[in-house]
């Protein structure tokens, strides 16, 4: 049975990349869900573009909601010991200055060279760039998370992106609902497949040729 991972499962797989001590920035959508799956034995610090390091999880009650404490997706967060605030110029100094260890962004398309397109489907229209261009360039390690194909089952992992780029050659790891693919100097390396999916199944839905890792395994969820 070839089931695709749902958003929660993709977020869980992304969170497996979190390592003790990391400073992490999470983008809109599935990336933000990954904050719910931090491994218990590690400590990480989340960075929000709107000027916060070290915020805690979403509030559980309405009483805990504070309009002066939201993350970069506009979602209420909670205070946590060690948290600090700063302005937007400082916040993006942290990003461009390469002080963020890991960033997870949603993707519309990723190319075999690691180009990311995630903010617009056409040139000229107002699109929500937000902090994505800065993060894509600035983070030490960038994970793009997305469904493997469009709603019409067309590949989103492409030889060249057709949508406007967020940044060229920036993605290190692609996590989709059927695979985990590493971007290497020699091209795309398929490392994991979702339960029930073969390398050939994934290749059939991917435009560029995939190299198959000799340690290819099924995603552990």
């Amino acid at each position: 049975m070839k089931e695709r991972l749902d958003e929660q499962a993709m977020a869980l797989r992304v969170a497996r990349e979190f390592k003790d001590g990391m400073i992490i920035n999470l983008g809109f959508g599935i990336p933000t869900l990954a904050a719910n799956f931090i491994p218990e034995d590690i400590e990480v610090i989340f960075h929000a573009e709107n000027g916060c390091l070290g915020y805690g999880p979403m509030p559980r009650t309405v009483e805990e909601e504070d309009f002066h404490l939201v993350n970069a997706t506009g979602t209420f967060a909670t205070p946590r010991p060690g948290m600090c605030f700063f302005d937007h110029a400082e916040s993006f100094s942290m990003i461009r200055g390469r002080h963020i260890d890991l960033c997870v962004l949603g993707g519309l398309q990723v190319s075999e060279k690691g180009d990311l397109a995630n903010w617009a489907t056409g040139v000229g229209r107002p699109g929500n760039i937000g902090g994505a261009m800065d993060l894509a360039f600035g983070a030490h390690h960038l994970i793009a998370v997305m469904t493997h194909t469009t709603k019409n089952n067309e590949p989103k992992v492409l030889k060249e992106c057709t949508y406007p780029l967020t940044a060229p050659r920036c993605v290190n790891l692609i996590v989709t609902d059927i695979s985990v693919i590493e971007v290497t100097p020699d091209g795309l390396l398929l490392k994991e497949t979702a339960p029930g999916w073969t390398a050939a199944d994934v290749q059939a839905l991917t435009e560029p040729g995939l190299k198959i890792s000799k340690d290819l395994k099924q995603m552990e969820l």
Binding site: F67, L69, V70, F92, P126, N128, G131, F137, P168
Partner: protein
């Protein structure tokens, strides 16, 4: 005596002129938006404004329409000035959503050609405003190199990486929201409501601040003041203190 406190919000924005360039602090539906100054500007009626903000905002929902997000009571954002037709150009990083039931007024006005929209990556927006404040002529930045953002801009390879030349964003007025002020204009903020506000304070010719509370000179610790009063020209105090947006 130095006292930057003005009588009210209407007085604070009275001299904003047709064609003025305005900075607006805030970050999306979160707090840190100078709602009272924006309402006063809507009432005052200055036209052909250029609005520079991270997110201009969603404006007011149609009467009876269900709000699609939580806001504080009496919240208004820059979307209000777009709805009133006072804005001719927006420079922003996040225009807002454009889907059924959740469409920022910016998109409607852009589609009819009534509004010009210039997109800037968020960090570049902050740094261009900071550069105006700091008297920097221009700067090379890697963000946007290799994308549509580099079009028409000077490029240079620095440390093996492509950079593009960006210029300061200057404005006539900065509309800033802070938590507490003293009469010198020293400011402190609350939580993530800080965002663009301290960056914009002092980056425009005139900086106008909306605060929750005015406190006695000397009661803000010099160690924790975020915006030194040198950057502030006018302070308007909210009547209802911390209640409302």
């Amino acid at each position: 005596m130095i006292n930057k406190v003005v009588a009210g919000f209407d007085e604070a924005v009275a001299d904003i002129f047709n064609g003025a360039v305005i900075f607006m602090g805030g970050f999306g539906p979160a707090n840190g938006t100078p709602s009272n100054l924006l309402r006063a500007l809507a009432k005052q009626g200055a036209k052909n404004l250029t609005l520079i903000a991270n997110t201009p905002g969603y404006g007011r929902s149609a009467p009876g329409a269900k709000a699609f997000r939580k806001t504080l009571p009496n919240y208004d954002d820059g979307g209000l000035l777009i709805q009133t037709g006072q804005v001719k150009k927006v420079i922003c990083a996040f225009p807002g959503m454009n889907r059924p039931g959740m469409t920022a007024p910016l998109h409607e006005k852009w589609q009819t050609g009534e509004l010009e929209v210039e997109m800037v990556p968020q960090g570049t927006l902050a740094e261009r405003i900071r550069a105006a404040k700091a008297g920097i002529g221009a700067f090379f930045i890697p963000t946007g190199a290799g994308t549509v953002m580099e079009q028409g801009k000077e490029k240079r390879v620095i440390d093996g990486r492509e950079h593009i030349l960006e210029y300061p964003l200057k404005a006539d007025f900065a509309l800033v929201r802070a938590y507490r002020a003293d009469r010198y204009g020293n400011l402190v903020y609350q939580g993530t409501s800080r965002n663009f506000n301290p960056v914009m304070a002092g980056a425009a010719k005139v900086t106008i601040v909306e605060v929750d509370e005015l406190v006695e000179l000397g009661s803000l610790s010099p160690e924790v003041i975020v915006t030194p009063g040198i950057y502030v020209d006018r302070i308007a105090v909210r009547e209802n203190g911390k209640k409302g947006a």
